[in-house]
Symmetry: C2
Subunit: 171 residues, 2 copies
């Protein structure tokens, strides 16, 4: 079981524009079944965590499609969730224990945003980063991972318009 | 002849730490003769341009090793240069004309920083971006390319510790 930050970013390391838009990302070509794609990754996920902005974005754009338990780190109020969503403002280490237990043999997926993932990294709970760079620069926005970390490149791929890398976090 | 931003960055899109350190970068393994490496690229360079911070960094760390003419965009005073270095505060389009003429059949290399490269992009003078991502996140520092640009992925490679991509700028 690994705790994996699986995400996409602009070439200059942003997850979203300052006004939370992903239009620049969703217009890009990718094969979810291709190398380092979403399909193989998501098959191995047993629990997921995200921040309030990420959850808000999903609510605004999709029906809830996830079958594994999700923890949303937030101080905001949200409507009652459609799926197995647990709102929390607890310490990430305590939540991570619950997530790992729920995930069983599956991975813990850190969906975003960057500051939340950084809090897992601060507690040495982040094992891997998988990032797909979209062929776009944004110049500003939500940062990929606002921490000073050393990683190790494990796998490189091209998937459609994306330059993809898989990394282990060094401790 | 192309105008190419050939550079390295952290995974989160920084060229250097806020205090201009490249220690996190220079400690990484790379083969200059490997794919998307410096050697093949620099063989094709006929002129180069950089900002004052980049020039300052080179002066502080190396003897001047370049044989093609270099333009340094600066308002600062520097000591008389060791090589063919031309200090300028002119408009990038005017300087680009002089660089292209000097480069002949060679490429114009935009060394950095990001804001200077952005000024070339603003004038539609940036053709390609080649970026090698070092397996590090910095969290803050000098931005890779602080503009909103669309690019097209042309080539992907792994070179040592680096995830490398070559891009054409879309216009």
């Amino acid at each position: 079981m690994s705790t994996v930050y699986f995400t996409a970013a602009s070439l200059d390391g942003f997850l979203a524009t300052a006004d939370h838009s992903l239009d620049w990302l969703l217009s890009q070509q990718i094969d979810p079944r291709g190398p380092l794609g979403y399909e193989a990754f998501s098959d191995g996920v047993g629990a997921m965590a995200m921040g309030a902005n990420t959850y808000r974005w999903i609510l605004d754009h999709h029906p809830w499609q996830y079958t594994v338990p999700a923890w949303v780190f937030t101080h905001r109020e949200f409507p009652p969730p459609d799926g197995d969503v647990r709102f929390t403002a607890d310490d990430v280490a305590a939540v991570h224990r619950a997530m790992a237990e729920a995930a069983g043999d599956g991975h813990v997926w850190l969906v975003g945003g960057g500051e939340l993932v950084g809090r897992f990294a601060d507690r040495r709970l982040l094992d891997e980063v998988v990032v797909g760079y979209a062929p776009v620069t944004l110049g500003s926005g939500a940062q990929l991972l606002p921490r000073r970390l050393d990683l190790e490149l494990r796998e490189v791929a091209r998937n459609g318009a994306f330059l993809c890398g898989r990394y282990a976090v060094r401790r």
